[in-house]
Symmetry: C2
Subunit: 388 residues, 2 copies
């Protein structure tokens, strides 16, 4: 069972930080929330206080003076520890704009088909920030570890957020992925040029570009090279993708790998669902985001205002990143003529293709799954055109 709805013993959440009033809560303990979708496309870099918040446990209150990041290798044991000051002073600082997205972003579209377990996210459990800090590779080298030579098969990241039994949040990535992203993984101590807010991992979190939010461990305090992947609940028994006939009676979480790279997605941020255009409007400007996992840039966003019968090409604003290392999102915009034969309502659809020409699936039905993750079907928004 997901642990999210759990425990309220002496309220471990009483020390959680204050959140921006524009953040729409999805749950309160732990706190989860997303900004209104129309705010997302206002800024290429999502402001820190408007960035979606995804907590699995109470927010730790970390004293930066006693903060330690421990590096260890299964077998030999502890290699070294770095203080916060070490991280800031001893290593070159790397900065990259990277999208983080919750595996459950757009879950609310799946819920309409059939109930699922999970937070009822809209389209804004995604954000793009510039993250700064040392390369993981530089830290490991300093600790005497060559990631291309180690025999361990996984890199584990431990957080300082703990469940009532005292077990911390933890996640891992396969060593193969750590090698592919060798110079791209950042041990981040800044978010958009500021210290990382408590909700986002103060003082240090890991940023693994192109993969699911669940592995971007916040309040990072340990990095371990291990023969086994993390045994944490969220690594083993959550955040995996199944077909729509798998239910809680027949699910086998061991049958598929933990989600890492995410599939291509896009969403319409403006206009929002239910918008009334000006009476007799003859066109509508549509804006949104598109993004894909694995650093695959967006090559095309297609938009339709007639239920998918005809399509237009949106104008893309790609980030200034290499095409095979496009970790930031691509904003897009299109101005579409309202079809003459509308009956007061039209449905707008968007769908994106990434550098591998992977595309979004047509229907939510086809990808429905018991945990409501990986919800990347064509995005649809319904708006009204009143008569004057």
């Amino acid at each position: 069972k997901p642990k999210e709805q759990a425990f309220d013993k002496n309220d471990p959440y009483s020390n959680d930080p204050k959140r921006h009033p524009a953040i729409i809560p999805a749950s309160s303990k732990p706190f989860n929330g997303e900004p209104p979708s129309a705010i997302l496309t206002d800024n290429f870099l999502t402001p820190n206080d408007l960035f979606y918040i995804r907590n699995h446990l109470p927010v730790p209150d970390v004293n930066v003076k006693s903060y330690k990041l421990d590096i260890s290798v299964q077998g030999p044991g502890k290699f070294t520890s770095f203080s916060f000051d070490d991280l800031k002073r001893k290593f070159p600082k790397k900065s990259t704009a990277v999208v983080l997205q919750c595996a459950g972003n757009r879950r609310s579209e799946m819920v309409k088909i059939k109930p699922v377990k999970g937070l009822n996210w809209g389209t804004s459990a995604i954000g793009n920030a510039e993250w700064s800090g040392p390369c993981l590779d530089d830290l490991l080298k300093q600790a005497g570890i060559d990631i291309d030579q180690v025999t361990q098969k996984h890199v584990l990241f431990g957080g300082m957020d703990k469940d009532p039994a005292g077990s911390p949040y933890e996640a891992s990535i396969p060593i193969e992925l750590a090698r592919l992203l060798k110079r791209d993984i950042i041990v981040a101590y800044e978010m958009n040029g500021q210290e990382i807010p408590r909700d986002h991992g103060y003082p240090v979190r890991i940023i693994i570009p192109g993969i699911v939010g669940a592995r971007q461990v916040k309040w990072l305090t340990s990095i371990k090279l291990s023969n086994e992947e993390s045994m944490c609940h969220w690594q083993q028994n959550d955040y995996k993708g199944f077909h729509s006939s798998i239910d809680w009676n027949n699910v086998n979480f061991k049958s598929v790998p933990a989600i890492m790279e995410l599939p291509v997605t896009s969403a319409i941020c403006e206009p929002i669902e239910g918008t009334d255009l000006a009476p007799d409007a003859d066109e509508v400007t549509v804006k949104g985001y598109a993004w894909s996992g694995g650093g695959r840039g967006i090559v095309r966003v297609d938009v339709s205002i007639d239920g998918g019968k005809t399509w237009d090409s949106a104008t893309l604003s790609p980030p200034k990143q290499p095409m095979y290392k496009t970790f930031a999102w691509t904003f897009w915009e299109a101005t579409l003529p309202i079809p003459k034969n509308h009956k007061g309502k039209v449905e707008i659809i968007c769908k994106a293709a990434d550098l591998s020409y992977n595309v979004q699936p047509d229907s939510v039905e086809g990808i429905w799954n018991l945990r409501g993750v990986l919800s990347n079907a064509w995005h649809r928004v319904n708006i009204s055109i009143p008569k004057s």
Copy 2:
């Protein structure tokens, strides 16, 4: 206009090799053909004489004694040449099982929606072979070229097959991709342990794992590092993906990048369309392949025998390759009970998810495009169950 249906001047095709009688022709000059789908799943490594043949031009007749592979860099010019003997003796031999797939594989499904330009491929314009030869990286190093340091943006591969004006087939890949695949690109002189058949590039072809067939230049005679991508027709004005409202009047081939990595796909190879099962059969065994570009392994193949209302999980036979460098295909199999309420006919569907949890799109309509490429919708096969 595609050049494929062109020229018959003194029949430059008269010296083409003989083909295996099981190969089903898609065109004769140039010759293109695919094996019957039920043969595909018989062998993890597709036999050389049953591997789909995709020629854009007449097949050259190459004298291996005078064969040269020229390496050059835009600016400095020619760096070096290697003889066939150099390739075999001077470098370590690398062998990898790699799928090649035509961008137009499964085009026949798009044709049913609306006509497209291109060969009417079924599901077998795909094959998996073990390719052997030096790493491209070793050749370049020997020529004094460090692929991580060059300023040129593209790697061009030139063939010995020529159009009537004397222009050779050519393709290129972005330098970024060449770097990502650094030790994986093979200058192949063997296919499944034998010399490469003439139809497949004798004596030497390039093998760039995880990307579209059109860049796997056969009869390879030149490798150039260049500031510009290949200007060849098939690089610039073909093998690109558009939405379904783009037609030959409004297409802008410059608007999207040339196809490189291919999207996730799968197909049912057995039973074939129109199969009559045994009278009153109560189950059917279904077999097929699944594969994705970019080395992304297959994590799941879902099969349905009730039009997608319910799904079963196929049993996968993944190749023995690393999960982020899975360049070979994954065969799969499932035995499905015939639904009790069938009326003599059932439709079988398959769909796959790859390591990034990208999935196949539901409908052919949603991905139809004027050239009929990237046809990776859910695959459907209709069979009959006679009454006894």
